[in-house]
């Protein structure tokens, strides 16, 4: 046999199958218990508002096709996290995917697509909390999608060469994840300030801003951001070479024409 296959995962859970990106999941998919109601309730409210606007915007673009289109985009957003890439050190990594989805489908569709993927992940797989759904969707579906899309639009002109677009997609994935991690760190870091008992003991996330921000920013600047950037760049470049018309950010006509 050329390569030994381990089928144990089909029958049961195996800790040996964890890769570097699974640690990203621990950090980026905020579980229940870390955020106080003072944080998660407003974030649910903001997310609901943005989601309502997003559905209307997408409906304008694709008319009656909005439901199957967004369903497909959401499934693709979920699926993209399954693709692993070898990273130095012998392990593998996968992307959050919001940057790719935003570039391929546009930021409004990405908001819905990534949110639906996150909701299914939280409900079926237990990745991310129920109370934290608003926070996770706001961070990864709304904030990350818009940041990634507009960074790409700013740097990656269609007329520029493939190398420039590869670089733009990398920067878009890299910076959007780093900035999202800092946003999540702020949400974690304010918990000891807004939710402590009378003796100063933290009731939710115990790490304040001085710990949460450096911890999250450093690992995303040095590891996870690079993985996100590489995967975003690989996918966008492949689409560009084979069927650039599928890339929303390059689609001709209207406000999305970048040429």
């Amino acid at each position: 046999m050329f390569y030994q296959t381990d089928y144990s995962y089909i029958y049961g859970f195996s800790v040996s199958n964890i890769d570097i990106s699974d640690f990203l999941k621990v950090i980026m998919h905020i579980p229940d218990g870390y955020l106080s109601p003072q944080t998660y309730i407003p974030l649910i409210g903001i997310f609901v508002g943005v989601a309502a606007v997003s559905v209307k915007k997408v409906k304008k673009e694709v008319s009656a096709r909005d439901i199957p289109y967004l369903g497909m985009a959401a499934a693709f957003s979920f699926i993209i996290m399954m693709f692993n890439l070898p990273v130095p050190g012998g392990t593998t990594g996968h992307a959050v995917g919001s940057a790719v989805i935003a570039i391929l489908f546009g930021p409004w569709a990405a908001t819905i697509a990534v949110s639906v993927a996150l909701i299914i992940q939280a409900l079926i797989f237990g990745d991310g909390g129920i109370t934290a759904i608003g926070a996770n969707c706001f961070n990864m579906a709304v904030f990350m999608s818009f940041v990634a899309y507009y960074i790409f639009k700013l740097l990656g002109k269609r007329s520029a060469g493939n190398k420039r677009i590869f670089f733009s997609a990398f920067i878009s994935g890299y910076l959007s994840l780093v900035m999202t991690s800092i946003l999540a760190a702020v949400e974690f870091g304010i918990q000891p300030l807004i939710a402590s008992d009378n003796y100063g003991k933290a009731l939710y996330c115990p790490y304040d801003l001085s710990i949460a921000i450096p911890a999250m920013a450093i690992e995303h600047l040095l590891i996870f951001g690079i993985i996100e950037g590489i995967i975003t760049a690989i996918i966008v470049s492949y689409f560009l070479r084979n069927e650039p018309g599928l890339i929303y950010a390059f689609r001709k006509g209207g406000k999305n024409d970048n040429e």
Partner: protein, 308 residues
């Protein structure tokens, strides 16, 4: 009779240029992707299988179960009493046993998630560097306290009682929330559960998107599994990094195209059934006496737990 098989085929780990480690490391991305797809399919099948089993929890109206889930998860998030959290843990475990869910298999997953999300990340908070309090177990004693920039390291570093309280509180919150969510999900058909979000005025369009995405995920996960198994059976030796990138890009592109085909097909199927851009989801299941009793018990339990 002599062995005519080439040596590189008899040695499982050696590539054509003899780089054993590199081959395994590079090809592990195939295994990991197959694993991810298989885990997704397995979780969905496990959920469907459990959801269709006849048991007392399964019979409860999905609307009541959704309300109970949201209400109790909020309760779990606001209580700061360890005893109350442990009672919730015990009650959820009893419901798992009553529901005849594969307790061992599901709890293995729950404990892993709770350990990763609720313990590993929070454990350093049990030290007095993070959580102030009386040291119950001293780890290191420095010559003098250290201060640099905005950070302060006390002279004695050790675990505090307050710190342990914080760690176990977060751990139990994660454990209880995950186990409660999975209990409800494993005893309810997913489409029925999604429909029940109408009680919170979530628009039908959004619910339809979730339901469709869920179905697409099953189809696409299986496609990935099959594609990668086929790919794996054809790959050997060393692969250049640029080829790996092209290979992954190509698979994602293929999945994207496949998604587009499925989406087009779904749209035309919907149109042929009279779809004109508006959806209305019907929830035919009516409330029974058992549903009302469940609702009252859940609310009473939640209030009781808050008052402990």
């Amino acid at each position: 009779m002599g062995n005519k098989i080439p040596p590189y085929l008899l040695n499982p780990g050696v590539g054509r240029n003899g780089s054993v480690k590199l081959q395994g490391a590079k090809l592990s991305f195939l295994d990991k992707t197959i694993l991810n797809a298989a885990t997704a399919v397995k979780s969905i099948y496990l959920q469907e299988e459990n959801a269709t089993k006849e048991n007392p929890v399964q019979k409860i109206n999905p609307d009541v179960k959704l309300f109970s889930l949201i209400f109790l998860v909020v309760v779990i998030s606001i209580i700061n009493n360890l005893v109350a959290q442990i009672i919730v843990t015990a009650v959820i475990l009893i419901f798992y046993i009553v529901s005849r869910i594969r307790v061992f298999e599901v709890y293995r997953k729950i404990f892993f998630l709770a350990f990763m999300f609720g313990f590993v990340v929070v454990f350093p908070a049990s030290l007095n560097i993070i959580t102030q309090g009386e040291i119950v177990f001293n780890l290191i004693s420095l010559d003098k306290p250290l201060r640099f920039w905005i950070y302060y390291i006390p002279q004695d570093i050790g675990f505090t009682l307050n710190g342990f309280h914080v760690v176990f509180m977060v751990f139990l919150r994660v454990l209880n929330s995950v186990s409660l969510a999975l209990l409800i999900i494993y005893t309810t058909s997913f489409p029925a559960f999604i429909k029940s979000f109408r009680i919170f005025r979530v628009p039908d369009t959004f619910l339809m998107i979730i339901t469709l995405a869920y179905k697409y995920i099953i189809i696409l996960s299986r496609t990935i599994e099959e594609t990668y198994f086929a790919l794996k059976s054809r790959l050997s030796g060393n692969i250049k990094n640029s080829n790996i990138r092209r290979l992954i890009g190509g698979r994602i592109y293929f999945i994207f195209k496949r998604s587009m085909i499925i989406y087009e097909g779904t749209y035309y199927a919907m149109v042929s059934r009279g779809y004109q851009g508006k959806v209305m989801i019907h929830s035919p299941k009516h409330f029974t006496v058992i549903d009302f009793i469940t609702l009252i018990i859940v609310i009473a339990f939640g209030i009781g737990i808050i008052l402990i």
